[in-house]
């Protein structure tokens, strides 16, 4: 059965960066609207089953309310943490979902990648400064997801394998394996606190898998010195400090600062880099993990991220295949 899965992160687009930058606030009403449009479009485009991840704000349920569409809210625990997205992605893998739509920021896509590393994914940006997700309307995203899930358009023709940053932290009592999709930053701080990286002077190093001059956020540091686009293999490591180039970068939306870059090192596919000592790791722009003075962090960039579905290419393919032509079934309720 052709199945589309939808995940919506209720927490995206509301953090403290809105106090000091003109970053977009994404309200629940906006998110519900995107999901509602995606549901309608997925059902219109061949999805026979639409699974929606439960969330603390019941956004998916609100989006589906009153719609005549084959929607199911999956029965998964809701914790209000990233584990909701990770768990939903894993569930979608088990349910053989053909295309996943995830609303959120880079961090939401990161959690999808943890739960289902090979997810065929359309990531819709509802976060702060998103590099991985794209700004696309729910109508187009839902249509593309429906077309791919139903096989009207082959996923192999319209999806590409993205990259991810594989992170291993060996600390005093434990080891942690995690991933980032865009950048991993090393922050000189004592606390995770409000998560967003507020103070540029606390950034000590960044590993980026995607670093383009068009990026906003931590990856823009590398992006403005040694660009690496999302499809080429490998990544880049930058160490901050005096003695090298000084660049102006948009560390947050509409907010530029000067960064001193002491070292820039390209990273080949799979090449490891290890840093030791006390730090706070920021995954895809958010402080998330404290490392003790005894800890070591080993990082590599791999081409093993989610399969990113190109929405526009999917719709063009479908149009070429006359998939949008009115058929008899359209006269019976579609």
């Amino acid at each position: 059965m052709s199945t589309v899965g939808i995940i919506v992160n209720p927490n995206a687009g509301k953090d403290i960066r809105r106090l000091v930058t003109p970053a977009t606030h994404t309200s629940d009403v906006t998110k519900v609207g995107i999901v509602r449009r995606a549901i309608v479009a997925a059902a219109e485009s061949g999805a026979e089953r639409i699974l929606i991840a439960p969330d603390t704000h019941r956004l998916g349920r609100r989006a589906a309310d009153g719609l005549d569409a084959p929607v199911e809210i999956v029965d998964e625990p809701v914790t209000g943490s990233r584990f909701d997205t990770i768990g939903a992605a894993r569930r979608f893998w088990k349910e053989q979902v053909g295309a996943v739509i995830a609303l959120g920021g880079d961090g939401t896509s990161r959690d999808v990648a943890l739960g289902w590393p090979d997810a065929p994914l359309i990531a819709i940006s509802t976060g702060t400064n998103n590099v991985y997700p794209v700004a696309v309307d729910g109508t187009s995203a839902g249509a593309a997801a429906g077309l791919v899930a139903s096989g009207i358009v082959s996923v192999a023709d319209v999806a590409r394998r993205s990259k991810k940053i594989v992170v291993r932290v060996d600390d005093r009592d434990s080891s942690v394996d995690d991933v980032a999709l865009v950048d991993l930053a090393f922050i000189d701080a004592d606390f995770i606190g409000a998560r967003a990286v507020r103070d540029p002077s606390t950034i000590t190093a960044v590993v980026a898998a995607v670093a383009t001059p068009a990026s906003t956020g931590l990856s823009s540091i590398a992006g403005r010195i040694h660009p690496v686009d999302r499809w080429e293999s490998g990544g880049v490591f930058v160490r901050l400090g005096a003695g090298g180039r000084r660049v102006r970068v948009p560390l947050a939306p509409g907010s530029f600062t000067t960064i001193d870059v002491a070292e820039v090192r390209p990273l080949a596919e799979g090449e490891s880099i290890t840093l030791s000592g006390r730090t706070i790791l920021a995954f895809d722009g958010e402080r998330d993990l404290a490392v003790s003075p005894d800890g070591t962090v080993t990082v590599r960039v791999e081409s093993s991220g989610p399969l990113v579905i190109d929405v526009e290419r999917t719709l063009v393919r479908a149009a070429s295949a006359l998939a949008f032509d009115h058929s008899e079934k359209d006269d019976h309720g579609h």
């Binding site: 509301k14 403290i16 106090l19 629940d28 004592d190 409000a194 998560r195």
Partner: protein, 326 residues
């Protein structure tokens, strides 16, 4: 801009002072030694502490019916607070206000307030005065999630934004308006979604994490002080005790499991653990702080118990203005 150890200890001290004051007040209420209602702030300490820690003494705050924590965080005097709770003449309001009217103008604390939502317009008035005087003072309005359904809040937020006033709206979203869960009284989950409707930025922070709250407060207060206008901070938090009093009064509106989960994230203990892990503090240092502040509380209780009740000739004093309100 990083949070220095001195600031960490300051935030910790504010939180422990609130916790100890409230637990002592709770015990006294259970022993029937306090007249009137008592709404304890235990569990929400990170919000008042993180925000008041970003303010100067001459900045203003307005508070709620759950107001002890705000005054303590602003530097309130234990003796005068405890005396006020006991209705004694040495209290902040000479024993005639009680828990829900406690204030200290010398600290810019413009009053707790028994009326839900009533504090925000007062803060807007203070912010207007502060802008007019031009001394760079900021006002903060503390209020709960339920208060944002009250007309006074909407009027206050609208006027603050229309006049571009130096104010921070600090919402303590503890998910319940008295005994009613938030989702029974509003169709949105995040109060912050309302901010854009007035034309101000709004952000969500973890209200159980004093560092997160403080980071947000530093930004919002600096913005207001610099003429950048109002902001709304929504701190997701939880009260460990009942709406009022200490016991549950048999009203089972929150599950034990829910309360226990929030208590696992106790804002004081999580900060202590992190500071010890960072080698900024030792357990002994924290034990000493708790012991010192417990001593202050015992002193305050004795001060209040030994203080006289107001005399009957004081009933109308400070109630009506003798000179026409000026």
């Amino acid at each position: 801009m990083s949070i220095t150890p001195a600031v960490q200890f300051d935030l910790h001290r504010r939180m422990v002072r609130i916790r100890l004051f409230e637990e002592a007040a709770g015990r006294l209420a259970e022993a029937a030694k306090l007249p009137g209602f008592l709404h304890l702030y235990v569990g929400e300490e990170a919000v008042a502490s993180g925000i008041c820690g970003a303010l100067n003494d001459d900045d203003h705050i307005t508070s709620t019916h759950r107001g002890h924590g705000h005054l303590v965080a602003k530097g309130g005097d234990f003796n005068r607070m405890m005396a006020e709770l006991m209705g004694k003449s040495t209290g902040y309001c000479k024993g005639k206000g009680g828990s829900m009217h406690i204030s200290d103008l010398s600290l810019g604390m413009l009053g707790a307030n028994g009326i839900v939502g009533a504090g925000s317009p007062i803060a807007v008035g203070a912010a207007f005065a502060n802008k007019y005087r031009g001394r760079g003072q900021v006002a903060v309005a503390f209020f709960g999630d339920g208060a944002t359904n009250i007309g006074a809040f909407h009027e206050a937020a609208n006027m603050a934004c229309a006049l571009h006033l130096p104010i921070v709206f600090a919402c303590e979203n503890n998910e319940y308006g008295e005994f009613t869960p938030r989702d029974k009284t509003m169709a949105i989950t995040d109060i912050v979604d309302r901010a854009a409707g007035y034309g101000m930025p709004g952000v969500i922070v973890d209200g159980m994490d004093v560092i997160a709250v403080h980071e947000a407060a530093l930004e919002a207060v600096a913005k207001a002080r610099a003429g950048g206008g109002p902001s709304l901070i929504e701190a997701k938090t939880y009260r460990f005790y009942n709406h009022h009093g200490v016991q549950n009064l048999g009203l089972k509106y929150r599950s034990d499991d829910e309360v226990a989960k929030w208590k696992e994230r106790d804002p004081i203990f999580t900060l202590e653990d992190r500071m010890i892990e960072n080698k900024v503090a030792t357990r002994q240092r924290f034990d000493d702080i708790w012991a010192e502040l417990r001593n202050d509380i015992e002193t305050a209780i004795k001060f209040a118990e030994d203080s006289p009740l107001p005399t009957s000739d004081q009933v109308l004093v400070d109630v009506y203005s003798a000179n026409g309100g000026n």
